[in-house]
């Protein structure tokens, strides 16, 4: 596995899945259960996608950002403050998100 991205370890745990990069301005994308939600930062309009996501990766945000808090409440891994998640990760990539270490691996 190749370490492809790192950031802040915002919510612990490990999940694997298919990347779906979501624009903040396109919350109605056809997001599937178990996909990895990758976005600049989460918005309330993304509620349904966040509820389906196996893990969440964001470009910005601290340990008490919306994505971090919700991920912890949902019990899913989250890596925030990657700076380049939405540029580095592409739709369809298979990745492992390690929220305990704050790392994302290409599978």
């Amino acid at each position: 596995m190749e370490l492809i991205l790192s950031g802040m370890a915002a919510s612990s745990g490990i999940a694997e899945g298919t990347v779906r990069v979501i624009s903040r301005y396109a919350p109605n994308a056809d997001f599937q259960e178990g996909e990895i939600l990758v976005t600049e930062m989460t918005e309330p309009a993304m509620v349904a996608m966040m509820n389906k996501a196996a893990a969440i990766v964001t470009d910005v945000g601290g340990i008490t950002s919306h994505a971090a808090i919700i991920s912890r409440e949902l019990g899913v891994p989250c890596v925030t403050a990657t700076r380049s998640g939405t540029a580095t990760l592409k739709d369809g990539m298979k990745v492992r998100v390690d929220g305990t270490k704050g790392e994302v691996y290409l599978i």
Partner: protein, 359 residues
């Protein structure tokens, strides 16, 4: 020798720590700019309210009962920023306001007034009553997951209604409360309370949104919890799914019977949240500024009602935004080191201490 009250140092430590967890530049638009534009016009309204409450001899506890603790702490913080940026500064008036509000906060909180790590607003008797009177359901990983989904959906509704600067007006998390005597070693109780979910005074069209309050009570073992001054900034150690021992959910004074009920409420709230997010997304940045004024005042709706005043923004407040451009994003990346932060006139702590200098 200190000439100012101890709470200012306690507040300063808390706010600096709290901001170290956040990235303010990710907030949009820049609500702090509204506080600068107001130039003390909301403080005038607030001062009138405080004076009226005193004249009417309304007990502090009665005023405090109208606030969730995190909302009051945030409201106090925003008042500090407005005062910091107002010119000329009405020192005597603001001293009266801040001392009053801090006194109210002291009636609300049982300990850790500024929520450096906990949000303790219930007495031992109240906690005991909660434990004995709640119709607890057995917790397990599946129910933990469903509660997390409900929490996300309700939080999303709150963000859609109150956005980045005011979600604490509708969401607070209380605890951790020690319930080891009834639920085993290390057991803690957390109470996640959503209120004001139908703020019709701020958003006139909420006809599809059914619920006004949702409360989630959870008992965990092998989980530790902490929060900060906005207690919905929850932080845990331990596995929330494996550690859930018992739960209960109340929606508008009705306890839900089973997890299917929880799922149904979550589905409804998710729709409300998405609808409200669309409404908000259609606002212009100017309209967002005026909505900020509404929400700033709405924090104090109960206080103004007790004072016999209309809670809505004054004409002077609205005029303060006319012709002003609200920046798209907050410009602060992070706060400077603590000693520099509290000493600088660029920050609110300096001006709090200045209230107690005689020059």
């Amino acid at each position: 020798m200190k000439t100012y009250p101890e709470w200012i140092d306690e507040y300063a430590r808390m706010i600096h720590m709290s901001f170290s967890h956040m990235v303010p530049s990710s907030w949009h638009p820049d609500g702090f700019a509204v506080l600068r534009f107001l130039n003390g016009s909301f403080l005038k309204k607030l001062h009138a309210g405080v004076r009226e409450l005193r004249a009417r001899q309304i007990p502090l506890e009665t005023v405090g009962a109208g606030f969730q603790p995190s909302s009051l702490r945030a409201a106090i913080y925003f008042s500090m920023l407005e005062y910091q940026h107002s010119l000329p500064k009405d020192k005597a008036a603001y001293k009266e306001i801040i001392e009053y509000l801090v006194s109210v906060l002291n009636t609300v909180m049982k300990e850790d007034v500024w929520a450096y790590s906990r949000n303790i607003a219930h007495s031992a008797h109240e906690i005991s009553e909660m434990v004995t009177e709640t119709p607890w359901k057995k917790g397990d990983p599946q129910s933990a997951r469903e509660l997390g989904l409900l929490y996300n959906s309700t939080s999303s509704l709150v963000y859609s209604l109150y956005h980045d600067f005011f979600p604490q007006d509708a969401c607070d998390v209380f605890g951790p409360y020690d319930v080891s005597a009834t639920h085993g070693e290390g057991a803690i109780l957390l109470v996640k309370k959503f209120v004001k979910l139908r703020p019709v005074g701020v958003w006139s069209d909420l006809k599809n949104q059914k619920y006004s309050t949702i409360e989630i009570r959870q008992i965990y073992q092998n989980v530790s919890f902490k929060c900060e001054f906005v207690a919905m900034h929850t932080m845990y150690e331990g596995d929330l799914r494996q550690g859930l021992r018992a739960y209960a959910v109340k929606v508008d004074d009705t306890w839900l019977e089973d997890i299917e009920d929880v799922r149904n409420v979550r589905d409804e709230v998710t729709v409300f949240a998405q609808e409200q997010a669309k409404v908000r997304a259609q606002l212009t940045i100017q309209e967002i500024g005026y909505k900020f004024l509404d929400l700033l005042c709405y924090q104090y709706a109960n206080l103004f009602e007790l004072a016999g005043m209309d809670w809505r923004p004054t004409a002077e407040m609205k005029d303060s935004l006319a012709g002003k451009e609200l920046p798209e994003k907050v410009v602060i990346e992070s706060l400077p080191p603590y000693e520099e932060y509290v000493a600088s006139a660029d920050n609110e702590v300096y001006w709090l201490k200045d209230l107690y200098t005689t020059q």
